[in-house]
């Protein structure tokens, strides 16, 4: 199964969700700004990388975890992915998860300041602070995703 966490610019919420999924960020307990700023993908992606799924790693079940930026074209982008997967007979291989509703205004404001205005020194910590305030919702989303992922055939065989 390919799990794709998608958001606007694949720079903040999807990055954190993928790290929570893969266990490189904890699902319980506090997370500080420095930990978020230390993530290789946090606040890094640029528009040229939108629409390209970025591989983040494999989880303990063997699922591949990706992040994806869809800009403001979430609905059309999801239709493109699902219709193509359906034609290829691989619609049960993709699990899509929108992380954008889990974050609040502060993350969006931080992202805008950093990515659109180019004021990284202000925007990046602001986005990280927003993520920390939204962490509970992001963890819920990731936990829900993991619970609802179909069990892979290899895991089933075990």
């Amino acid at each position: 199964m390919k799990v794709i966490y998608h958001c606007y610019g694949r720079a903040h919420s999807s990055v954190v969700a993928a790290h929570l999924h893969l266990g490189s960020l904890p699902m319980v307990g506090p997370v500080n700004i420095r930990q978020l700023l230390g993530l290789a993908e946090f606040d890094r992606a640029d528009p040229s990388q939108w629409g390209i799924p970025h591989f983040m790693g494999r989880d303990e079940q063997g699922n591949e975890v990706y992040i994806l930026g869809l800009n403001s074209q979430t609905a059309a982008g999801l239709r493109a992915i699902t219709s193509l997967a359906w034609y290829l007979g691989k619609n049960d291989e993709v699990f899509l998860c929108n992380t954008l509703p889990a974050v609040g205004l502060l993350t969006r404001l931080g992202g805008f300041t950093s990515k659109k205005l180019g004021l990284t020194t202000i925007g990046r910590p602001l986005a990280a602070l927003g993520i920390i305030l939204s962490l509970r919702r992001l963890r819920h989303l990731v936990a829900w995703t993991k619970r609802n992922l179909p069990v892979s055939k290899t895991e089933e065989a075990k």
Partner: protein, 140 residues
């Protein structure tokens, strides 16, 4: 042999890509040479799949049929800014184990321009389809 996928894409407004796909698949007869150019009437547009536009389907890949050389013909209403969607289709195909080189994206609006009359549009779409088929025979 790998299946080639021809994706005629357009903004989703008007009949240009649906007409191209229909001509490609032989759903619409081309104009015999030496006769007057054909006008794209409402009846003609209404008689072909998605001929009256597909704005609501933006992003959806629509399979229309298989061509003479075994190529699959699709429509993609991409909206005004389609770069992201085209990248997404190509990269999702790669992700799902497909060879993205077998996906051919034909920008129908770019390749037919903005003709002044509807007869002219029909002729340009015919030329576009002929060119695509020619490219297909040469291996694109």
């Amino acid at each position: 042999m790998k299946i080639k996928r021809i994706i005629y894409h357009w903004s989703g407004r008007g009949p240009v890509a649906p007409l191209a796909a229909a001509l490609h698949l032989g759903l619409v007869e081309p104009v015999p040479s030496g006769t007057a150019a054909r006008k794209i009437t409402r009846k003609l547009a209404g008689g072909i799949p998605f001929g009256q536009g597909a704005g609501r389907e933006r992003g959806t890949l629509i399979f229309l049929g298989t061509g003479e050389s075994g190529e699959e013909v699709y429509l993609l209403p991409r909206g005004k800014e389609g770069k992201l969607l085209l990248t997404l289709v190509r990269e999702t195909a790669r992700l799902l184990g497909e060879d993205p080189e077998t996906y051919y994206f034909i920008d129908c609006e770019l390749r037919t321009g903005r003709p002044p009359r509807s007869q002219e549009l029909f002729r340009r779409v015919e030329e576009l389809v002929l060119a695509v088929k020619g490219e297909l025979l040469r291996g694109l």
